[in-house]
């Protein structure tokens, strides 16, 4: 008999799934060619309800469903991050779908289901459940990537993401199978117990490596990053906002569990090399990009690298730095893609740097907002991006990772160049083509406001979130 409290422990997931189903059911009732905004409103209500459910959870910490789900500060933190991402993404999609004439009601349902998968990833402590959650989130995003049905590159993005993604999850699944073979369990705490008491076998090492490959793909870290620029370029901008932050944050949460909660062996150099490669390849690759979506795709590879630096730093400081980084990266990156999606206009025509020339004059508010997100991505103080980098590198140095810190620091200096290039184009170049900018609709306005407030809040008053991240790290290591 499953106790009732167990259902509270998966309440946010339940609530959001129900709302996803409602969206699916209402969709056929709506006239076929009408805008699907009512579905979006239902989705927003669903996310808010799930947030409320998450807020209810802190009284009910503990594990549920025969130790497959664990609700603690760690899971609650990632629930909130993922839900906020979903909220902003849905808000910015209202107008985007109209402009792009996407009439698919399942769009919102897929966002909700994907979010359920991401939330479950951060709460699950059973590798099989983690795999299922990972698939729920991945399959939703595969389809979302292809939502611009009229655009060839969108279909291409979807197919590439799907084929390569399946390839990568196969590695993860294989890793899960091997770890079961090595330790006799797929429960994170069971594995932790095994690693504490027994000598790890070759099989266990191999399993950790394979799981890292699968998750490395999901977070777009080198050398498993190659899909990123294509997929980000082709997918609808709000979907990129989602998949560059949500599944990434969730996959990092899983990686934290797999590497640290289990006390897995042998990962250090693997993570070190991947971090160094991601930062370097991401930043150098971004230098010459002309397409802003590609540019931010490379940037997201680089940011995965910074996050992995925190992983390499390990222990409590590193873990809390990684958690904080995931949150502030989500805030600024969702915001940046929100602006890009709005500005891209019909058919995503305006996505190159040349189209951004003179944006500062044509749409001062939008340009200023994007500038703040970009400054945060550079890591300028009083933005979340600064503290995120600050904690990561200070954690790395505290763990004596001098080499990795220097690589990271040099990379940050290089990175300033290409973010600044966007700002220079917006403010300091004359427009060649007059790319029109529509007025900022309400949904986008609210979405941008949330991202902006979060980005600044994390820069000016990072204390509470950081305390929470530290608490989460402690809970994770328990």
């Amino acid at each position: 008999m499953i106790p009732a409290v167990d259902y509270i422990r998966i309440l946010p997931e339940l609530v959001l799934s129900i709302f996803g189903i409602i969206v699916m059911m209402v969709d056929p009732v709506l006239p076929e060619q009408s805008p699907k905004k009512p579905l979006g409103v239902i989705a927003v209500i669903g996310v808010l309800a799930a947030l409320a459910a998450t807020a209810y959870q802190p009284g009910f910490y503990g594990s549920a469903f025969y130790n497959t789900v664990s609700v603690d500060t760690f899971s609650v933190f990632f629930h909130v991050v993922v839900l906020l991402i979903a909220l902003v993404v849905i808000l910015i999609s209202f107008e985007y779908l109209d402009v792009q004439r996407i009439r698919s009601g399942e769009y919102y349902a897929l966002v909700l289901f994907g979010t359920v998968g991401m939330m479950l990833m951060s709460a699950a402590v059973e590798l099989v459940l983690i795999f299922i959650a990972l698939e729920i989130s991945s399959i939703s995003t595969y389809i979302l990537a292809g939502m611009r049905r009229r655009a060839a590159e969108s279909a291409e993005a979807s197919l590439k993401y799907f084929l390569l993604g399946s390839f990568a999850t196969a590695f993860f699944l294989y890793g899960v199978a091997l770890i079961f073979g090595a330790t006799g369990t797929t429960n994170v705490y069971g594995i932790a117990h095994y690693f504490q008491t027994q000598q790890a076998s070759v099989l266990a090492y191999l399993a950790v490596g394979l799981m890292f490959v699968g998750l490395g793909f999901k977070v777009a870290s080198a050398p498993f990053h190659v899909w990123t620029p294509d997929v980000y370029e082709g997918s609808p901008a709000p979907v990129v906002a989602l998949m560059s932050t949500g599944p990434k944050a969730a996959a990092f949460a899983v990686l934290l569990r797999v590497l640290f909660a289990t006390g897995a062996p042998g990962w250090f150099w693997m993570v070190w090399v991947s971090a160094a490669l991601s930062m370097t390849l991401g930043n150098i690759g971004a230098l010459v990009q002309q397409n802003v979506k590609r540019l931010l795709a490379y940037s997201s590879i680089a940011h995965a690298g910074y996050l992995l630096v925190a992983f390499a730093a390990a222990k409590q400081v590193g873990i809390s730095a990684a958690i904080f980084y995931a949150a502030s990266y989500a805030a600024m990156n969702v915001g940046a893609f929100a602006v890009i999606g709005h500005f891209a206009s019909e058919g995503e025509k305006y996505v190159t740097l040349d189209d951004y020339a003179g944006l500062g004059r044509r749409s001062p508010l939008l340009a200023a907002t994007l500038t703040i997100f970009l400054l945060s991505l550079i890591g300028i103080p009083v933005t979340g991006g600064f503290f995120a980098k600050f904690y990561v590198f200070s954690a790395a140095l505290q763990s004596n990772l001098v080499g990795l810190t220097i690589i990271g620091v040099i990379n940050s200096a290089i990175a300033a160049y290409y973010y600044l290039r966007v700002i220079v184009y917006m403010y300091m170049r004359d427009e060649r083509v007059e790319a029109p900018v529509a007025r900022i609709p309400a949904g986008l306005g609210v979405g941008l406001a949330i991202s902006l407030v979060a980005t600044i809040y994390l820069g000016v008053m990072p204390g509470r979130v950081l305390d929470y991240a530290i608490q989460s790290a402690q809970d994770l290591l328990k």
């Binding site: 291409e156 090492y205 191999l206 080198a222 503290f387």
Partner: protein, 687 residues
């Protein structure tokens, strides 16, 4: 007792907010009133605070105010708080005082410019960050100011954003500074790692416990060197000085405020603030001295041949900052800050006067097209004269006392080579400054016929409507009629009055530090030196620092003798400039021809920009372009997308056009990566 120091930086921020958000709709007079009001107020408050500070007893210094915990992460925490000691009092007064004067001047100088409100909003933001930098009570808050002034500087250099060179210069300044900033940031990480705090008051006692790292370089040497990397970026020292000359693309008052008087001195302030670290790290301290001295002579040599009036002043700033580092490097922090202060006066004045000249000539910056201006711009001429004598180091002007103090400190602490280089540089300084003086104000006017000189600003910096060509500017102004001036003219009062005040300060500013050898009482030194007291870590305790325990009386005559050497060289510089640029103006060209390669090398600034471009920037771009852009991006993907995107209507079409080849190659990448991971993990497991 709280002095509510937080109000001081927040006032300009409020001004920036009001002007930035609403200024577009305000009339100019209101924008002026807001910008000036919100910089006059912090200056007034700074004076009040200084008066309060004078009343504190030694055991109440440093006066620390804590407002809130900014962040706390485990054992580490940082506050919003302010730290007031002798050093920050002086910095605060210089920043608010000179800052206010330059704001006043800007009202006249920027009168005809578009984006007026934006300019003042940026300028006020700069004041906010600069005051945060000097008043912060921990390194992290200082770093916020440190990055913030860089950002404000970037915005202001690129103010004329329609001009590509200005935009590029802004970007160059920003990125060069990023390199330096990360040195500083790593230094902070090391401090956190080893001391667990960045609060000055908890840090000083911890550092004090460390012995001097004489034998082997250790932690503090590393921290000191990394801080120096940060300082070379912000204060434009070798090797990161390259951004400052380009930064002259910004409006001239910006050059005066940010790139001469305040922001660029942040590095000196940081080194002085961290004196406990440098005192214990002889190698780092030596590096500071050597880099400062090298920069001083290096930049001065470039300044000798420049023909753009602002470029001369830019290299001169770099050179003078070098002196300040030299002072800090020989542990005469008081001398460094003293020179920082006097330099703020006379260099701000030089820039503003140069701006007045440029303004009066309708945007001309080339000294070869000036000459004889002293009768057209009498007030500008006289204030420029005082500033020139001050920077040349002639008594009794301000620069003499501060520069001589530094040179004497270098000699008396045994750095004889540094002293020699410093003294030669002093001669060069005098030469290139008087060269500027003679070229600009004496001889015959060499500009276009005064009858046709148009009025405008930095010629190629005309705003949107004006394409930048002088001809166009002239037409536009002729059409406007109202300010079509006919000949070089004196600037309006709102610009001249700040010049006069700064001229007064450039004259008397040094008198606060008349050394004992000249029967002065060195009140500046007496006031400031407690801040650099080794025991300043613990309030109230008094102990003599090694640097302070210099025997004084018997050295007086030697000191005087050394003073006369540098004054003699300065006079020589004057005479040379007089001979070459006044008496026999045809000579310099012949000499330039005779010098040939050397002259060109100087004119090309030793080709350092080209060197950096070839060694650092080009390879990076090539790598990015060839490997990532052409190799992976264009070669494989874009061809597929470009070919299909235009004509494809439906997804099925897209499928047909898509290249499956790159999916295979991507999968290949993943597989290779996975193979590497598998091999490594198996190896780890077997071992």
């Amino acid at each position: 007792m709280s002095m509510h120091l937080w109000i001081i930086p927040l006032l300009p921020l409020a001004g920036a907010a009001v002007n930035g958000l609403l200024g577009k709709r305000f009339p100019r007079a209101l924008v002026n009133a807001i910008a000036l009001g919100f910089t006059a107020a912090p200056f007034a408050m700074a004076l009040w605070v200084a008066a309060q500070f004078a009343g504190l007893s030694p055991d109440q210094i440093p006066h620390i105010e804590r407002y809130a915990t900014w962040l706390s992460a485990g054992a580490f925490s940082a506050e919003y708080g302010m730290y007031l000691d002798q050093l920050s009092v002086i910095m605060m007064l210089v920043v608010t005082g000179v800052g206010f004067l330059i704001h006043v001047y800007s009202v006249g100088y920027m009168e005809h410019e578009g984006g007026y409100y934006r300019y003042f909003a940026y300028l006020n933001i700069f004041m906010f960050f600069m005051l945060t930098l000097v008043l912060a009570n921990n390194y992290l808050l200082m770093f916020v100011g440190w990055e913030g002034v860089g950002l404000a500087s970037y915005l202001l250099i690129g103010f004329w954003f329609l001009k590509k060179s200005a935009a590029d210069a802004g970007k160059k300044a920003f990125i060069t500074n990023r390199v330096g900033d990360f040195g500083f940031l790593i230094a902070l990480f090391l401090l956190i790692k080893h001391f667990g705090t960045l609060q000055y008051d908890s840090l000083w006692p911890l550092i004090s416990r460390y012995p001097v790292e004489t034998g082997a370089a250790g932690l503090l040497t590393a921290i000191g060197l990394l801080m120096l990397v940060g300082a070379t970026g912000k204060s434009a020292q070798i090797p990161l000085y390259v951004w400052l000359p380009d930064a002259m693309e910004g409006p001239t008052p910006v050059s005066a405020l940010i790139h001469a008087a305040t922001m660029v001195t942040a590095g000196v302030y940081m080194v002085a603030r961290s004196h406990l670290v440098f005192n214990r790290a002889p190698d780092a301290q030596m590096a500071v001295a050597v880099i400062g001295t090298l920069t001083a002579i290096f930049a001065a040599s470039i300044g000798i041949v420049q023909t753009d009036i602002k470029k001369v002043l830019a290299y001169s700033t770099i050179s003078q900052l070098g002196y300040m580092f030299m002072a800090c490097g020989v542990l005469d922090y008081v001398g460094g800050i003293f020179h920082l202060m006097t330099h703020a006066f006379f260099k701000a004045l030089l820039f503003l006067a140069a701006g007045s000249v440029i303004h009066g000539l309708g945007g001309e910056q080339d000294m070869r097209h000036m000459g004889g201006l002293r009768k057209y711009l009498p007030y500008t001429f006289w204030s420029m004269t005082i500033a020139t004598f001050a920077i040349a180091g002639l008594p009794p002007f301000a620069g003499f006392f501060s520069k001589d103090r530094i040179l004497w400190s270098a000699w008396s602490s045994g750095y004889h080579v540094l002293w020699l280089v410093g003294v030669i540089t002093a001669g060069m300084t005098s030469f290139y400054m008087f060269r500027l003086w003679f070229l600009t104000f004496f001889g015959k006017y060499r500009g276009p016929n005064p009858e046709t000189v148009a009025h405008g600003h930095d010629a190629d910096a005309q705003h949107a409507g004006h394409t930048g060509a002088v001809q166009d500017a002239k037409d536009a102004h002729a059409a406007a009629g109202s300010h079509g001036h006919r000949s070089p003219h004196e600037s309006p009062w709102v610009m001249v009055v700040p010049l006069m005040i700064l001229a007064l300060l450039s004259l008397v500013g040094g008198w606060a530090g008349v050394p004992h050898s000249l029967h002065g009482s060195d009140r500046f030194g007496t006031f400031l030196s407690p801040a650099f007291n080794e025991a300043s870590a613990t309030p109230g305790a008094a102990a003599a620092t090694p640097a302070e325990a210099k025997p004084e009386s018997e050295d007086n005559s030697t000191e005087l003798a050394f003073s006369s050497i540098s004054v003699g060289l300065a006079a020589l510089g004057f005479l040379a400039a007089w001979w070459l640029y006044y008496k026999r103006p045809e000579l310099p060209e012949r000499m330039a021809k005779a010098a040939g390669g050397l002259y060109t090398l100087l004119l090309d600034k030793y080709k350092i920009d080209e060197l950096y471009g070839a060694v650092i920037i080009q390879p990076l771009i090539l790598l990015s372009t060839n490997v990532f852009w052409k190799g992976i991006d264009q070669g494989l993907i874009d061809r597929a997308v470009d070919g299909s995107a235009t004509d494809a209507r439906e997804a099925s079409d897209a499928m047909r056009h898509m290249q499956s080849g790159n999916i295979r190659s991507y999968a290949g990448w993943v597989a290779v990566g996975a193979a590497a991971v598998i091999a490594f993990m198996v190896w780890r497991g077997v071992r």
